[in-house]
């Protein structure tokens, strides 16, 4: 059986580790072998974070080899670019459009313009899905008067709209139902649907 490699990246505090667990939990519930390898030393402190989700009976180690990721899920466009060399040729990018540039780099303009990021991502992949996840998460948080950020569920929801993606809508929904208390479940289900709606557009 072929393996599926999903690299999830973003900035500490965005919910990357939780997202990789939701994904892994969903896969695991079907009985398939899944490994998650995380680098979260800088988690919640706005450093770069990478999580490797590997699916398949033949996966052993926690790290995706360079050039072998089938999906690059990025919570921030520059972090997508930083990890692009992990993506296989014709891999798929699912990325949040909201850039977050460190203060110093905002002032010195050391990061390339974000248009260049998208150009670059498109040049090396079969498809780039751009999601307005931060904006939608802000709206949902206000609607539910919640302090939690559902950006990660929106992006995962978006990924489930891709036919070949190893986790589909029903599976992710079931995983959210198992994971969240009844009070925070509706908000997460709405986030899932918001992500899917963005993919339909």
């Amino acid at each position: 059986m072929r393996e599926t490699n999903i690299l999830i990246t973003g900035i500490g505090g965005q919910g990357i580790i939780s997202a990789s667990y939701l994904l892994a939990q969903a896969v695991q519930s079907t009985g398939e072998r899944v490994i998650v390898g995380e680098t979260f030393g800088a988690s919640q402190r706005e450093g770069s974070v990478i999580s490797n989700v590997r699916i398949g009976s033949c996966v052993h180690g926690p790290m995706i080899a360079l050039g072998t990721a089938d999906y690059l899920i990025a919570f921030e466009p520059y972090e997508a670019l930083r990890c692009l060399h992990y993506l296989r040729s014709n891999g798929v990018v699912i990325a949040n459009v909201q850039p977050v540039v460190p203060v110093r780099d905002q002032l010195s303009e050391t990061y390339p313009p974000v248009d260049k990021v998208w150009e670059r991502l498109k040049s090396r992949s079969a498809a780039v899905y751009q999601l307005q996840a931060t904006e939608a998460a802000g709206r949902i948080a206000v609607d539910y008067q919640s302090r939690y950020d559902v950006t990660n569920v929106i992006i995962l929801g978006g990924a489930t709209a891709i036919d070949e993606f190893p986790v589909d809508e029903e599976l992710l929904k079931a995983t959210l139902q198992a994971r969240f208390k009844s009070s925070s479940l509706p908000m997460n289900l709405e986030a899932l649907e918001a992500g899917r709606a963005m993919m339909r557009r």
């Binding site: 900035i11 390898g37 052993h60 926690p62 460190p102």
Partner: protein, 625 residues
């Protein structure tokens, strides 16, 4: 410890971190006492043991440092109990004084020292190899390769420890500790807890002079016999039947070796030997393996530890074959391994040519971690920088380990040195006695103070060093996951404890020039620091402010509403960027089109620390919003 027994029911496979799996292994082995000090990537072993302490009846604590944790666990093991001490690799150094003699005395109950290393220095100041430490301390070391092995090795480690009557190091890496896999805990009869029983044996428990020398002889005999004594334990794996290349591997590197062999399709050419225990070294196993292959490639992370011992074994046996690895530069000593490195090394040894598939990485400036919005340290350091402008010579800032180390990052960049836990105060004293002609300021966090800060503080006070110590007290060991310490007022398992007052402690050490300030009052911080730095003699400023992240977590748990965010009045903002270049809260953003700053209401937690930063008072919120 009371004697209890319980049966765990299997709930099928559960996805868990390597660290959690290891903790479960210890619980199923009947661990009675668990003590540790937080440190990434080791902390979750202890946290899991703490979370399950009530349910499974073992004792669990966050000790003040790793040496104390080892001593606590050792006393339990001398009393016949099973114990575990948990730490990151650097903690082994702190505990070394206890561990190196503990090998001489040995233990009665099984004792496991869990150490998680940090190949690649993801979150550590070095990447020292715990296997080398184990050999130095003469303590057997087990190296599981994945969370499932971690679970089984943790169980087995206690039995091995009792079989050898020696403590055992269970060696992990970030790629085991922070890897998750579905694990079946099974339906397992959990071993009952034991009753402590200290058996008098002065020749063993009083390790000094002649008795110590005799114990060293005993230890050496024990280590020589170890591999034979452990022959029943499944510590060795063999795969494939090829002859051309023998692969010897150990720890997480095994996974990369497997993947590379499968990806390259060289199963017929190779024979693989995986060692689950790298010290004492299974010389006979290696010799017999070496006699069946044409040459050997050793694939392991960090030092050429197995490689060098393999060379010695081959040479001793009089075999004539090439052993390759790090000494030939095929595999780097520095940094962590990955599938690509291992695959490249195998291709080189076997003469396989293949086009590289991955493009080079795109070079972007690094994104370092920074202080969180609302972090009390940011306000303290804003005060520190203002204080530094008011003293004639720029102080040397001698650093220490914790969130507050991020004073090295933009926009502060004030840190001059960083060595290890407790070195801030220790080295500040040294810089003063060396005769440096500028003020010297040590920084130190609350957890670090209790961990290894008290001896250097006593040293400063007693030897009358003209240094200033800035204690950044955020009430938690925040960097590693908000663990409590003696300054927090609760124990690991949640019950309240008498909070140790840092103020009272340092006053009793002899710091007469002492000032306690609120971290969020940067003006008060600044004034206190100017006075302390200009004071002749030991001085200390304690800046108090609870970790903002932890405060928010607790508030969310209590269902408390978010504090309203602050905002920038754009007609008042002049676009001077002072808030960005001197304060640098990530909730404050530069609007390139408007040439002004804005506050991101989703990021801002409403601390208001930035109000004083704005020279034109454009930031509004709280009571004046």
């Amino acid at each position: 410890m009371g004697v209890t027994s319980s049966t765990m029911t299997g709930k099928g496979k559960r996805l868990m971190l390597g660290n959690e799996a290891i903790a479960w292994g210890a619980i199923i082995a009947g661990v009675d006492v668990a003590a540790g000090y937080p440190g990434t990537p080791a902390s979750e072993v202890m946290q899991t043991l703490i979370n399950l302490a009530n349910e499974y009846g073992h004792y669990a604590e966050w000790s003040v440092n790793e040496k104390v944790a080892v001593e606590c666990a050792a006393a339990a093991a001398w009393s016949g109990l099973r114990s575990i001490a948990v730490m990151k690799h650097l903690g082994l150094n702190v505990a070394a004084d206890a561990l190196t003699t503990l090998a001489y005395t040995g233990v009665r109950g099984g004792m496991v020292v869990f150490s998680s290393g940090d190949a690649q220095c993801h979150t550590s100041s070095n990447e020292q190899d715990a296997r080398v430490f184990a050999r130095f301390a003469k303590i057997p070391v087990l190296d599981p390769a994945d969370p499932e092995e971690g679970f089984h090795y943790a169980k087995m480690a206690f039995a091995i420890s009792e079989k050898l009557e020696l403590p055992v190091i269970l060696n992990s890496t970030p790629r085991l500790s922070h890897t998750s896999l579905a694990i079946d805990l099974g339906t397992i009869e959990k071993l009952p807890h034991r009753k402590a029983n200290f058996v008098d044996n002065k020749a063993r428990w009083i390790c000094v002079a002649a008795s110590a020398l005799e114990r060293h002889r005993w230890l050496n005999r024990r280590l020589t016999e170890a591999c034979d004594r452990l022959s029943a334990f499944p510590l060795i794996k063999r795969l494939y039947e090829g002859k051309r290349l023998g692969i010897v591997t150990n720890g997480v590197a095994y996974n990369y070796a497997l993947e590379a062999v499968e990806a390259l399709g060289i199963q017929k050419d190779v024979c693989l030997l995986k060692l689950g225990m790298s010290y004492p070294f299974p010389t006979d196993t290696i010799t017999s393996f070496a006699s069946k292959v044409d040459e050997i490639l050793v694939i392991e992370e960090l030092e050429p530890f197995v490689e060098d011992q393999t060379r010695i074994a081959v040479q001793k046996a009089g075999l004539r074959l090439r052993v390759q690895g790090k000494n030939e530069g095929l595999i780097p000593i520095e940094g962590e391994l990955n599938p690509s490195i291992v695959s490249t090394a195998l291709m080189e040894v076997l003469g396989i040519k293949r086009e590289g598939v991955a493009p080079p990485p795109f070079e972007l400036p690094r994104r370092p971690p920074i202080f969180c919005p609302g972090c009390p340290h940011r306000s303290t350091y804003y005060g520190l920088r203002n204080a530094m402008k008011q003293v004639s010579l720029r102080p040397l800032i001698v650093g220490d380990i914790g969130c507050y180390t991020l004073v090295s990052t933009y926009p502060f960049e004030l840190l001059d040195t960083l060595l290890c836990m407790g070195a801030g105060a220790g080295m500040a004293h040294g810089f003063f006695k060396a005769g440096l002609d500028r003020p010297i300021l040590a920084i130190m966090g609350d957890s670090t103070l209790f961990h290894s800060g008290l001896p250097p503080l006593a040293n400063i006070a007693y030897n009358n060093s003209n240094v200033t110590v800035l204690v950044l007290d955020n009430r938690y060991t925040a960097m590693t996951g908000f663990q409590p310490n003696p300054g927090t007022g609760i124990r690991a398992t949640g019950e309240p404890a008498r909070q140790l007052s840092i103020e009272e402690v340092v006053r009793s050490l002899g710091f007469s020039h002492l000032k306690v300030v609120l971290a969020h009052d940067s003006k008060a911080v600044s004034e206190a620091l100017v006075r302390a730095i200009t004071f002749q003699g030991p001085s200390i400023v304690i800046s108090e402010g609870t970790c903002a992240l932890q405060e928010q977590r607790l508030a969310a748990k209590r269902g408390k509403e978010r504090t309203a965010p602050f905002l920038v009045e754009s007609e008042v903002c002049t676009g001077c960027r002072a808030c960005l270049t001197t304060f640098g809260c990530s909730a404050i953003q530069w609007d390139i089109e408007a040439n002004k700053v804005t506050i991101n209401p989703r990021r801002c937690i409403g601390c208001g620390d930035c109000v004083v930063v704005c020279p034109v008072k454009a930031i509004k919120g709280g009571s004046d919003a």
